[in-house]
């Protein structure tokens, strides 16, 4: 029995909790992608770099705040800086829309032209982020590290294995729940949210009933940029900030949006967790868990090397494409 509990604790510590946090971060990113797809009807390749941009502003403000001697008690100072980061990313997103995407909207260009323009935007944001903060890794999590430490847990429970709950993980989950709840309330009950859903369902009908498209598009960018920044800051607090990693997050985020059903906010959340848990469970070495369960595995019992985590998102994506192209929640077919 004790062995079983130990196995469970190891599993929770190395698979379940990290997967939960990563899933919440992916879900927030995928929500932005899916909203942009639903309203503006293109896959935004600049989303990863928008995340990096918002996170960069947050980091800069965090540095400034800590330089001024401001701190947020046991919480990371970055949370205080987050609103300014969101404002920066929103301003950037609206500026980009005004300078780049609006032109193609009035031209009624093909979807692929939007995608290519987003590639150009990706380049520009990429360059700006590297110009300002450089390509290197930045760690900006301060405050308390752990809510529950390995030793504290061991002493409390008397088990051989410890369970650590890191503060960034808890913050990620709490923030994600609040943000998602607020977003769903907004989409479901507010006038603008209803207008957005109507526009996403049927553009012409929405225009006929007097919905202002510019307003819908602007609100979409505001929400997407805010979500991207929150996702980016949470990811950075949990792991670390590196511009290239944020670019690479694009693939799991797209996979999450498509797996859930693109255009479906609920699907984006489900997809985020599906992708995150598949990545973590398939790349974890189960040797210790199995040992507690009474097996004596020879190797590490790792199904795939961690280098292949992108392959997992991709394989899931392909499977969804082949078996159920609309995704879990019956989104659009790209």
């Amino acid at each position: 029995m004790i062995d079983f509990l130990n196995a469970l604790v190891v599993f929770a510590n190395f698979v379940f909790i990290p997967g939960l946090a990563y899933g919440a971060q992916l879900a927030l990113g995928a929500l932005g992608v899916t909203l942009i797809y639903g309203i503006l009807r293109f896959s935004n390749f600049a989303h990863g770099d928008l995340m990096a941009f918002g996170t960069m502003i947050t980091i800069l403000v965090t540095w400034w705040l800590t330089g001024m001697g401001v701190s947020f008690g046991p919480m990371p100072t970055a949370l205080l800086a987050l609103p300014i980061g969101i404002l920066g990313a929103v301003a950037m997103a609206l500026l980009i829309d005004r300078l780049v995407f609006r032109f193609y909207r009035t031209q009624k260009s093909a979807g692929i032209v939007f995608v290519m323009a987003s590639v150009g935007v990706m380049f520009v944001l990429n360059g700006i982020v590297r110009l300002v903060i450089g390509p290197n890794e930045q760690r900006f999590a301060d405050g308390e590290r752990f809510l529950v430490t390995v030793r504290g847990f061991r002493e409390w429970s008397g088990l051989a294995e410890g369970l650590a709950i890191r503060l960034p993980v808890v913050i990620t989950l709490v923030v994600a729940v609040i943000v998602v709840a607020a977003l769903f309330w907004f989409l479901q009950y507010s006038r603008t949210g209803k207008a957005m859903r109507a526009y996403s369902d049927n553009e012409d009908l929405a225009l006929l009933s007097g919905i202002n498209p510019d307003r819908v598009v602007a609100v979409t960018w505001i929400i997407a940029a805010a979500l991207a920044t929150i996702a980016g800051v949470l990811y950075g607090l949990d792991k670390s900030f590196r511009p290239f990693t944020y670019f690479q997050l694009l693939l799991p985020i797209f996979a999450a949006a498509i797996v859930g059903g693109i255009g479906q906010p609920l699907g984006a959340i489900a997809g985020g967790f599906v992708i995150a848990f598949s990545e973590v469970t398939l790349t974890y070495a189960y040797k210790r868990v199995l040992e507690y369960l009474g097996f004596e595995p020879a190797g590490l019992v790792q199904l795939l090397s961690t280098e292949y985590k992108f392959a997992i998102s991709f394989v899931i994506l392909v499977l969804v494409l082949l078996i159920r192209p609309t995704g879990i929640f019956k989104g659009r077919v790209l």
Partner: protein, 441 residues
């Protein structure tokens, strides 16, 4: 200005730019840029075949180029006999097990239906996975531990490296066929995401599978298709030649080597260009453009749209694979860590869009011009930064940050160029010839 005049004047301008670099910086630099321009032009040609002829948006160019690079290693490096003895059989068995698993899944799928079919094929695939791992893992461990410091991989076939250019094309074509089978026929965004994914995976495999590629330990010292500088400097005929031309032998040998590469690459480019132009102006090319411009109409005329898309996706990727093998040949080493999507995928896109999508001459010019700008952006950007910040003291942190960050001007510049061209000259520098212009000719 007619298109022909445009082509002549813009190519002339490009030549002048290279000559200016030769005169003001150095001739070896100019030739180095030229060599990479030629390779970039071939990659841009491959992308243009996919995008310009058929409207397929492939953002996995990096992966196809890396497959070409892998071909260069597998073809040209000498085999490592010890590693083959240690693990060759195991790898062979694993390969057989893989083929067996795939075959078995297909058999199972042919004889069952419904839920049994799904469950049975899943069960066979999982069982197959464990069998493969059981044979594969020890073999890999044996190979990677064999003389790990110098080899630790199986090596290649020891054939002339030029042969690998063809093999690289075949590798890339095979990968493209697989991706295309899955992702073509859906909306174009899917192809973009799928190719982005496959290119990341290809790179992950190359970094990770040390028994095949040495991974991040890199394979260096690939054999060259041209002479080595050191040998030239000792060869009497070359010393005579250098003396007759009045050049320093070291400099002359550097120029000679770069020129030989340039000639080889130019031959490949000319052949591919001739083929691409022939294809574009044939009934097949007209059909491709018809499919691109109005897919539904072409389908109604009885054209097999998905089949043609697959065909052109494979052809374009093969061209990129050839260029990837040539790039690794020029570098003389295979470094999986160097593949970066900005440089190997999105830069090529900028080349095609700026040059003129749908026009091979435009794509090739774009390859030359954008590569030139990419190389020269760093010195020019650094110079601009130091001029802009000259008001600050030399040790001012803002100035130091900006001067250090000058290399990142490159992505910014490329993004701005791409956006500006898409907005204000969406047809590129040398636009596609439209139907009336062709008739007049």
């Amino acid at each position: 200005m007619s298109n022909t005049q445009r082509i002549i004047s813009l190519y002339g301008l490009m030549a002048i730019l290279l000559i200016i670099v030769g005169m003001f910086q150095s001739w070896t630099l100019s030739l180095t840029i030229l060599n990479l321009c030629l390779i970039s032009a071939i990659m841009a040609l491959g992308v243009n075949i996919q995008w310009g002829y058929a409207g397929l948006f492939n953002v996995g160019i990096m992966g196809f180029a890396a497959l070409g690079g892998l071909a260069a290693v597998l073809v040209s490096m000498p085999p490592v006999p010890g590693a083959w003895e240690a693990g060759g059989i195991g790898i062979g068995l694993a390969l057989l097990a893989l083929i067996g698993t795939v075959g078995l899944v297909m058999v199972v799928r042919a004889y069952t239906t419904g839920w049994t079919r799904k469950l049975a094929s899943l069960a066979v695939a999982i069982a197959g996975y464990f069998v493969i791992r059981a044979v594969f893992d020890p073999a890999v461990a044996a190979i990677e531990s064999f003389d790990a410091a110098r080899s630790g991989y199986l090596g290649g076939l020891g054939l002339p490296i030029v042969f690998s250019w063809l093999v690289g094309g075949v590798f890339a074509a095979a990968a493209a066929w697989l991706v295309g089978k899955i992702a073509l026929g859906l909306r174009s965004d899917y192809l973009a995401i799928a190719t982005l994914g496959i290119s990341e995976i290809v790179i992950a495999v190359m970094r990770n599978e040390e028994w095949l590629t040495r991974g991040v330990k890199n394979v260096s010292g690939l054999p060259r298709p041209v002479a080595y500088e050191v040998q030239l400097q000792q060869a009497p005929w070359f010393i005579d030649l250098a003396a007759q031309l009045g050049m320093n032998p070291a400099f002359a040998s550097a120029v000679y080597v770069r020129l030989s590469y340039a000639i080889l690459f130019a031959i490949v480019l000319i052949i591919l260009m001739w083929l691409a132009e022939r294809a574009l102006n044939s009934p097949w090319g007209r059909m491709m453009r018809a499919i691109r411009d109005n897919r539904d109409a072409a389908e109604a005329m009885g054209k097999d749209v998905t089949g043609r898309h697959l065909q052109i996706f494979v052809l374009g990727s093969a061209v990129v694979g050839i260029a990837g093998a040539m790039l690794t040949t020029l570098d003389g080493q295979f470094t999986p860590g160097q593949y970066n999507p900005l440089r190997f995928t999105f830069l090529i896109w900028v080349m095609v869009i700026v040059g003129g999508s749908g026009n091979n001459w435009g794509a090739v010019l774009g390859g030359f011009l954008i590569w030139f700008l990419w190389v020269e952006a760093e010195p020019v950007g650094g110079w601009l930064m130091s001029v802009m910040t000259s008001g600050f003291a030399a040790d001012n942190p803002v100035r130091q940050q900006l001067v250090d960050a000058a290399p990142y001007m490159r992505p910014l510049l490329m993004g701005v160029i791409l956006l500006l061209v898409m907005r204000f000259a969406p047809r590129g520098l040398i636009p596609e010839r439209t139907a009336p212009a062709m008739r007049r000719k």
